[in-house]
Symmetry: C2
Subunit: 423 residues, 2 copies
């Protein structure tokens, strides 16, 4: 793979998400050769994908070039490729651009959308885990509105205007809120020929409340915010099938040509990691040091890692914070390991959960404090701005938010690349 | 096509570029029903496409939703479609979404890249007339650099690093300058393994000077700027063929997998407009009122219009200014026409030409004043910021330019959608 051999131990990191990035950043001053592998040449700030999908932010402002982050580190290498197979016993991996030996391998490939085996839904529903997927949603919503103007068939028109989001976690809730604001402030002036009383936004959740991992207080308030915004929330409802126009659910059927699937994630299994190491959702079992115990020099971080602890007997939630904290700790532990020092076991510090539902409305479950409303919304805004990677991105996002806030507008409702259905 | 019939005369405008936009804006307060048709749902600010191609600006900041511009005008309709055929005698047109009758038809579809009939080049070279094309160039340059790391074949590596631009007009010159700055300030830190002395940027021009429509003074200075930036300029050189790796020219062959074609434009012929009305490059002949004389109610604007005047016996240059001025005048003339008043013939006011070649360097041929260097660069920057459509776009572009200027960086070097060759 054209990586020069040095006397330094080689650490190969697969995945430039929150975990991989934090790990590399914390390891960079130590004596390792770091090789970062990712399918994309950029890091994606996934918490704001929903704003790209709803024309609130441009795609380029939530992505950041991976090379840029590390381009002053002498022993850092980046390769844009995919891992095809791991040979943990030979300490080697095979990629689309050749093989590579490693001393330490850190897997941090995260998750993809989980359609729970329903191929009909997978073919027709929109996932939202990557920038191009978010752009596809933006294009599809706008294309469907353009098409709604052209039909006299009222049922067809409704199916083009309606949006159904499956999954009432933070992604689904934030997305539903953003689409409700499009309906309220943007779409009616763009499409004065359409009757917006006919547009419905449905949020379908399988459990008995939205934001299931949040406090009940937050769930209740989020539900109230969604209803104020005109989102129809269907709790305890399962989606069973979708033919591209009608969704079959455990309750009433729903008519839509825009189905966004935020109901679950799973990891992609990697050839060479025996099934004995996997648990539900293809997560890989690790010990408290993020090590796969069966193999020397194999580590797993973030969403892909399944670590049972006293506080989290079923593993940590698949969100940014555990990934970031594990990435940071593993960098320290690896330095300790090569120096023959003791490693520290991982202990998750829950820094709380945030979700925003439209302008000036959010819920915040902080460690010692819960709040909902405008203050929560300011906390949400501040935390996301700080967490964004890159000064340019922070400036551009800040100005977009300012302009969107004061103008009630979304100026990037552009169909740059029309979405084409797979069938 | 689902456009309500009113007693107002219907004006159908095809194309939301500079000409179509200016025309609609100036006609909107008059008593017409306006139907604007475009393939895209946004206006493209073409003069800055080269900055999208070179990771200086995000695509969304040079595009603006057409509906937004006109969404407060009661008798305005937008339809995203393509015109398939015009029936000028029946005053009707056929689109992908149905037929539409008109009282007045304004054609302003602009130009596409002209490969002068060479299919081999058309298949493999990159045009740059639309946002997705500019994004393809951005992706291809970065993909080729990622690939350059993987080969030990020096010739192959050079062909991946080299960039050849054909056409020494403003587009080619500005693009060459921007790529030279990528080579100088950005790519070497991103790809420390590559030897950048091996990367060549070639600009190929068929005539004896770059910027042929500019003053000789400007051409000379532009050439000097390009050479200072390390661009190899080949004058009096014609490109004959391209197999995807080697360009055959009238001079030496050139090795590159990135060939950008900015050597010419042509209009796309429209079914139903008889060939007798066309001149070279498929432009449509009009009189001094932008009317196609053979047909009542048929007008042509901008790049597509071919109008012979005393000052411009071979038609006006296919640039923004004539398009904008014709759009404005035709709106006035149409108002006069329906009121039985006399129309005014078009008289082009040349407001000068600007081109920038890297930071702090530009050439400006203004009506009574020529300047080159920093002042020209400030004029260029100011004029382009003012001309951009939309407040958000102006703010975002301004901040990008500030950040790029002070940091020497281009943070949006992202391969969001990899470019796939057509063969």
């Amino acid at each position: 793979m054209n990586i020069s051999d040095t006397s330094l131990p080689r650490v190969v990191v697969v995945g430039g998400g929150f975990a991989g990035l934090k790990f590399c950043k914390n390891l960079r001053h130590d004596k390792f050769q770091i090789v970062l592998i990712d399918r994309h040449n950029y890091h994606t700030f996934q918490p704001l994908l929903y704003q790209v999908a709803t024309a609130g932010l441009e795609p380029d402002s939530i992505a950041y070039p991976l090379r840029k982050i590390f381009n002053k580190i002498p022993n850092f290498y980046f390769r844009m490729t995919e891992v095809l197979e791991v040979f943990p016993e030979k300490k080697c991996l095979r990629t689309t651009i050749g093989e590579l030996e490693y001393d330490h391998l850190v897997l941090a490939t995260g998750t993809v959308t989980n359609f729970f085996g329903n191929e009909e839904i997978e073919k027709r529903a929109m996932g939202m885990k990557f920038v191009p997927e978010a752009l596809n949603i933006r294009s599809l919503i706008l294309q469907n509105f353009e098409a709604a103007l052209l039909t006299d068939d009222l049922k067809e028109r409704e199916s083009l205007m309606n949006v159904v989001i499956v999954g009432g976690g933070p992604t689904g809730v934030e997305l539903a809120g953003a689409i409700a604001e499009l309906k309220k402030h943007v779409l009616p002036t763009d499409y004065p020929d359409l009757d917006f009383r006919r547009m419905s936004i449905h949020l379908v959740e399988g459990t008995e409340r939205v934001l299931p991992p949040f406090s009940e207080e937050a769930s209740k308030k989020a539900l109230q915010y969604l209803e104020t915004l005109g989102v129809n929330v269907w709790l305890n409802t399962m989606v069973k099938d979708y033919d591209g126009k009608t969704i079959v659910t455990s309750g009433k059927p729903m008519l839509t040509q825009t189905l966004i699937w935020a109901a679950g994630v799973k990891c992609q299994p990697l050839d060479g990691i025996p099934a004995a190491n996997l648990v539900k959702g293809n997560r890989i079992k690790v010990n408290h040091f993020n090590q796969v115990e069966a193999y020397e020099g194999l580590y797993v971080l973030g969403d892909l890692a399944y670590m049972e602890t006293k506080d989290f007997p079923k593993g940590h939630p698949q969100v940014a914070q555990p990934a970031i904290q594990q990435g940071k700790l593993l960098a320290k532990n690896l330095s300790s390991l090569v120096r023959g020092k003791a490693m520290k076991p991982f202990k998750y510090k829950d820094q709380g959960s945030l979700a925003t539902i439209g302008r000036s409305r959010a819920v915040a479950d902080l460690p010692h404090y819960k709040t909902q409303g405008t203050l929560a919304w300011f906390i949400w805004t501040f935390v996301h701005l700080i967490a964004l990677v890159g000064f340019r991105n922070r400036v551009v996002v800040f100005f977009n938010w300012m302009i969107n806030f004061f103008s009630y507008n979304r100026d990037i409702r552009l169909i740059i690349r029309p979405y084409k259905r797979k069938e």
